[in-house]
């Protein structure tokens, strides 16, 4: 099927996965207020299964989209393999997050309809960001994703910190949105278009007004750096990750970050490709600062959610290396890493949920004492996720870092590669400390973890996530080939290739 966007119907076809997810999101909202489901709190699981069905249907549609081809790159919506690969990551993290949420939503008496509805709408926003080939659409996708996540962050009425985190995230996020929008306006002023392909032509031919363009690019960089949580725009991350309900934190750390990085890559390596030599040093420093500061601060954390928050900032630093490098290998490595990161991070938060008793109870690192001895299977799974986050050979996290390093070496970023390797070594300190507590420390009472709240669906999802991590660590070729083919669709990286010898 060929789309040239000459008629409005073509947009309907280009949006099939998003439309399915939106429709299911509305259905979930209606189910949440229907009298039969609302009266019985035990039915919150059913609403969760409905949401999961929506994610699976959208994933099916995403697979079908591989048979649809577009003509030209002028439309507001891209139908390329880059978008479809990103959709796999986003739908995967949404699906995992839904499964991880079920017991928590049930136990905390969250409003299931609103919770799952917002989760699906937020995923729609992320997919719109991945698909957008126009700055207006990117902005709307960003807001759709963010507003839903702000509300989800504050949704837990039993926790004061949840409301506080929601307010903090909302105010700082709105501030960052202001920067982003101002950046878009200035880029429009400099180039005369919000279409990424047209901006690329204007920027490449040098006819864009340099001062306005520099300001616009800088402000948009601030907006993106806030969303991915890069130092020094990371201040919100630890507090929001700690205060938000844990399944929301898991979803946020995987989905929001992946969507922001995908849009970041498309905007900066396609639209602003021609001025790569002017923005790469700034991103270089963002990446280096994120890696160094976040890994050192994570060493000092006592709360597991805060530790994983700093870990996610550190991972933002690793991924920024790919944006600095701006070549095929680095971008493919970034897609691969996003896939692995989403799976392993949601998995780790899933175990945190189980230890925290599907609530916000036991979140300190010392609370994990004896967990491995009493729950060997879950202990092994958490160890796999932690080792993968640290980048241990044999796990997907290791291969992801190797591909990022390949991309960085292709762009001759020697020092940044050195920083990446050294900070990875530092990160072993805090990941393995958690594992050490889990396996080597004695539990305060011998039966703390004899009964844990882990529904069978959650256990299956965790097992599948760990299996995927190990599979990608041992046989990464298939996924990497897919990522490479996806990146080829971007037709980017001219500026960086010309600038590096």
């Amino acid at each position: 099927m060929e789309l040239d966007f000459s008629s409005q119907g073509h947009y309907l076809v280009a949006f099939v996965p998003e439309l399915i997810l939106t429709a299911l999101g509305m259905l979930v909202l209606i189910a949440g207020v229907s009298r039969r489901l609302a009266r019985d709190p035990e039915r919150s699981f059913d609403i969760g299964w409905l949401a999961l069905a929506g994610v699976l249907l959208a994933a099916f549609a995403n697979g079908w989209m591989y048979g649809v081809h577009e003509v030209g790159t002028q439309a507001m919506i891209a139908v390329d393999r880059f978008r479809l690969f990103a959709n796999w990551v986003l739908l995967g993290s949404a699906g995992l997050a839904v499964v991880m949420s079920m017991a928590y939503v049930d136990r905390q008496r969250l409003q299931a309809g609103e919770y799952y509805g917002l989760l699906l709408f937020s995923t729609v926003g992320m997919m719109v960001m991945a698909a957008a080939r126009d700055l207006i659409v990117i902005f709307l996708g960003l807001e759709l994703m963010s507003i839903a996540v702000y509300a989800m962050t504050a949704l837990n009425r039993a926790e004061r910190r949840s409301a506080e985190a929601g307010l903090k995230y909302f105010i700082l996020g709105a501030f960052a949105t202001g920067f982003f929008l101002y950046g878009i306006a200035l880029v429009y002023g400099a180039t005369g278009s919000t279409n990424i392909a047209r901006i690329a032509v204007e920027v490449g031919s040098g006819s864009a007004q340099p001062a306005l363009l520099a300001l616009g690019v800088g402000l948009m960089l601030v907006g993106f750096a806030f969303k991915v949580g890069a130092v020094p725009f990371h201040m919100w991350t630890p507090d929001v990750y700690e205060g938000a309900p844990t399944p929301v934190t898991a979803f946020m750390s995987a989905g929001v970050k992946a969507a922001a990085f995908v849009a970041f890559l498309r905007v900066f390596t396609v639209a602003f490709d021609g001025v790569w030599d002017r923005w790469w040093t700034i991103v270089w420093w963002l990446a280096a600062l994120s890696m160094v500061a976040a890994n050192l601060l994570a060493l000092a954390q006592l709360n597991v959610k805060r530790m994983l928050a700093y870990s996610s900032i550190a991972h933002a630093g690793y991924l920024l290396v790919a944006i600095v490098a701006a070549n095929q290998a680095a971008a493919a490595g970034m897609l691969f890493y996003l896939l692995v990161y989403a799976v392993m991070n949601v998995g780790a938060f899933g175990i945190v949920l189980i230890v925290a008793n599907q609530g916000e109870d036991r979140l300190l690192i010392e609370d994990y004492a004896g967990f491995g001895q009493q729950q060997p299977l879950l202990g092994v799974l958490l160890t796999i996720f932690l080792l993968s986050l640290a980048g241990f050979p044999g796990t997907g996290g290791f291969m992801g870092k190797i591909y990022l390093l390949q991309g960085a070496m292709g762009a001759h970023l020697v020092w940044l590669s050195v920083v990446l390797v050294l900070t990875t070594v530092v990160s072993y300190g805090y990941y393995l400390r958690l594992a050490w507590y889990m396996w080597m420390s004695e539990a305060p009472t011998p039966d703390v973890f004899h009964q844990v709240r882990a529904p069978i669906s959650m256990r299956i999802a965790l097992l599948a996530a760990a299996a995927l991590i190990l599979y990608l660590g041992v046989f990464p070729d298939a996924a990497l080939e897919m990522a490479r083919a996806s990146v080829d669709a971007l037709t980017a990286f001219g500026g960086s290739a010309a600038a590096t010898p």
Binding site: F121, I147, A148
Partner: protein, 198 residues
């Protein structure tokens, strides 16, 4: 005549914008803002953008400002805002920055028919042609439902999400309709005991 009106409304718009920043009370700031937005609406009329002017009055000067007023008057009653609104020296560099950007924009677009912004957009002539052909409403509606259909539809979902999110958070303090709601964070032992019985 048009130039005289333009100068009057432009002075009112800029003057009341300064009033927003300088006013001593938040309600005063708000009223200045209404004046500023209303005179911008008058400027739209002078540009023959009648539809935009009507929308500007209804949405900004009307609905949004009334909401602002409600929120300020409902929240923090009796709170003295004077100290919150103090103008400090740190604001000066920000004024300089925004002034600099404004100067840059003016320099960029002053009489610049070859500026890139006109290459895709067509400039004033294109607007005049569209106005003559479709009228003020059509000139906005046509691109909105053709070229910008995708952003328009996404905005619809965005508004839905904003409403759902606001309702979900506002409902927080109302008692659950659920019969006998269990307290969310009771000790594990009690729950486990009940689980074993069940």
């Amino acid at each position: 005549m048009v130039e005289f009106l333009f100068i009057v409304f432009a002075v009112v718009a800029v003057g009341s914008a300064a009033g927003v920043v300088l006013a001593r009370s938040p309600v005063g700031s708000l009223l200045f803002m209404v004046a500023s937005l209303a005179s911008v609406a008058a400027l739209y009329v002078l540009l023959e953008a009648h539809f935009l002017a009507a929308i500007q009055v209804m949405v900004y000067a009307g609905a949004i400002m009334v909401l602002f007023l409600f929120v300020i008057m409902l929240l923090n009653l009796g709170h003295d805002y004077r100290r919150d609104l103090r103008l400090t020296l740190t604001a000066l560099p920000l004024f300089a920055l925004t002034g600099g950007i404004a100067a840059l924009l003016i320099l960029r677009f002053r009489g610049a028919e070859q500026a890139p912004i006109y290459r895709f957009f067509g400039g004033g002539d294109a607007i005049d042609a569209a106005l003559a052909e479709q009228g003020a409403v059509g000139a906005i509606a046509h691109p909105l439902f053709t070229d910008y259909l995708v952003p328009f539809e996404i905005t619809g979902i965005l508004l839905l999400v904003a409403i759902v999110g606001a309702m979900a958070l506002a409902k927080r303090h109302v008692d659950d309709p659920v019969p006998a709601p269990a307290p969310p964070a009771e000790p594990l032992a009690a729950l486990d005991a009940s689980a074993e019985e069940g």
